[in-house]
């Protein structure tokens, strides 16, 4: 089915994605996250780089969450999802993962994303969310981003940078799964061919 989807225009679009560096995908992710509407590109890029480095340097931990699979990821526009209740669970969307694997073959990206690595990356990615929600890594990430929101004498209060945890999760997955490029490049390529019908708030306007 992707053969039909990979027309010349789509290939050109994906070619442009391929030429974009991994940090820039992090910038796009931040730019798509609410609360960053008025921030300039340089600042977002600095945050994206810091979050990426932070995620890449996170200690490798074995994922503990339960893994379940379902098949309606393309309709929802999702690759994977982490939910903490009732028990920490990683939901893998098999249809999106299958499309990802197929796309990797078609595009000749196998040297970046070895066979089965997308699934592995999804589990690793969601494991970071678990770590960032329940472990000390959360405040460490905040410190390293250095977004000061309040200063009183020598004391500084660091603010939360929405979306940084997502970049860190992708960087961690890239590192521990030995990927050649960020999962965000693959995500962007998938988005150009999958064009999910149903959306999250992103992309809608009042």
């Amino acid at each position: 089915m992707t053969a039909a989807l990979l027309d010349r225009a789509t290939l050109a679009e994906i070619g442009a994605l391929e030429a974009t560096d991994d940090i820039e995908f992090g910038v796009r992710l931040l730019a798509n996250t609410p609360t960053h509407e008025s921030r300039d590109h340089d600042r977002l890029r600095q945050w994206a780089r810091t979050a990426d480095e932070f995620g890449a340097s996170l200690a490798h931990v074995a994922p503990t969450a339960r893994v379940v699979e379902s098949g309606d990821g393309l309709a929802k526009g999702l690759l994977a999802r982490y939910t903490s209740r009732p028990v920490p669970t990683v939901e893998l969307f098999t249809d999106t993962l299958a499309l990802a694997e197929e796309l990797i073959d078609r595009l000749g990206w196998r040297h970046w994303y070895p066979a089965g690595s997308v699934r592995e990356a999804a589990i690793a990615h969601e494991a970071v969310h678990e770590q960032l929600h329940h472990g000390p890594a959360k405040s460490a990430l905040k410190q390293s981003l250095g977004h000061v929101v309040l200063r009183a004498g020598r004391h500084r209060l660091y603010g939360h940078v929405a979306g940084a945890d997502e970049i860190a999760a992708h960087a961690y997955a890239r590192t521990v799964c030995g990927l050649g490029r960020s999962p965000l490049l693959l995500t962007a390529a998938l988005a150009t061919v999958a064009d999910p019908q149903q959306g999250s708030p992103h992309g809608r306007e009042k």
């Binding site: 796009r28 526009g77 999802r81 999106t96 990615h125 969601e126 905040k142 209060l157 999250s200």
Partner: protein
Amino acid sequence: MGVVILLVMAVGVAAMLTRRLPTAFALTILAIVIAFLAGAPLTGENSVLDTVIQEGAPALAATMIAILLGSWLGKLLDETGIAGTLVRKIVEFGGDRPVVVALGVLAVSTLVGTVTGSAPAAMLAGIIGIPAMIAVGIPKVTAAGTILMGIAAGMPFELPIWQFFSTALELPVDTVRGFMLKLFPFALAAAILFVLIETRRRGVEHAWSLKSASAKPASRRKQLGDAPWYALLTPLVPLVLALGLDVAILPSMLAGVLYALVTTTRPGEMNKRLLRTLYGGFEIAAAPIVLFIAIGILLAAVKLPGAVEALEPLIKAVSPQNPVLFVVVFTLLVPLCLYRGPLNVFGLGAGIAGVLIAAGIYPAVAVLGIATSYNQVFGVSDPTSTQTVWSAQYAGVTPQQVMLRTLPYVWAVALGGFCVTAATYL
């Protein structure tokens, strides 16, 4: 004849339910049919043309102006970045604890809800608030519900609503305010419990979404800087004036408009911004104003002597006078204010409230208690009301999912409202 009128009302509800007719049109037609059934003449005293249409249509004029001012203020909160700044600050300060973010957005929704209710309030708080909550891991249904519960918590202090109940039920604003102050703790407690319980029950959720790396920024909203901190107090200005200093509703709201303007806008741009946001406000206020015209017409029809005479014995027969029974019956009837049902206060419910008062079945304050309690349910859970539909869809879930999750909480608010009513006014 009373039975025929009730049957006509049932047909009207069916027309609204099946969306064959927009609510405002259905109510107007209903009013005219009721007036004829009640034996009203075409013109003259207590007539269809002069009393029902000519006097009924502008009866809620003060409410319409209040709605317009609320929409104007809402537009200003949006355009000057005040609403956005509030949400951004909350995420920056509390972002690593999702429950703190949800409580903060709840507080913003409550404030915004006091200024302008329903859909404009949902958009104002939700456009940034919903994706911000989702970005920190709040599940979608909880995110949509938080906005709606917040707006409903602000509803007891929503000045246009005070104006509406004061005019529609012919009660002084003081009386309306007095009851709303008693209803507010229930609404607030339910909203806070919703956030605390639902975030605990549902935990956090993070999705690896296909859209996360898209090149087009999700929001093409104008790039707004932060509004200064003192501008963020804008929603409190009308409240402090109307609640604390007893200033009338319309001037209180105008003061809010002026405060937002002078704290955010350079003198040279004030005129332009005022006009632009005012005209934008008209657009937002159009739908509710049309509805209030229709409600005024319906109220005039059910208050016709002929209608009161026909309906009084019927309604008296089914209206509980015993306080305990009163609470039980009206609590059980809560679902009837959903799906454009007959007890929806912004529909046929207003007419029923009018009959209850005109026929002297309950004192007007007790009817106020019934109507405002139902309004708390309707404002959050009705899957056909604009704010619920908007919030749910914007969060990417269905209005029914939001209804099921929020209904237990707002049902409890209504129960609280009925208890207060029965204890104080029966």
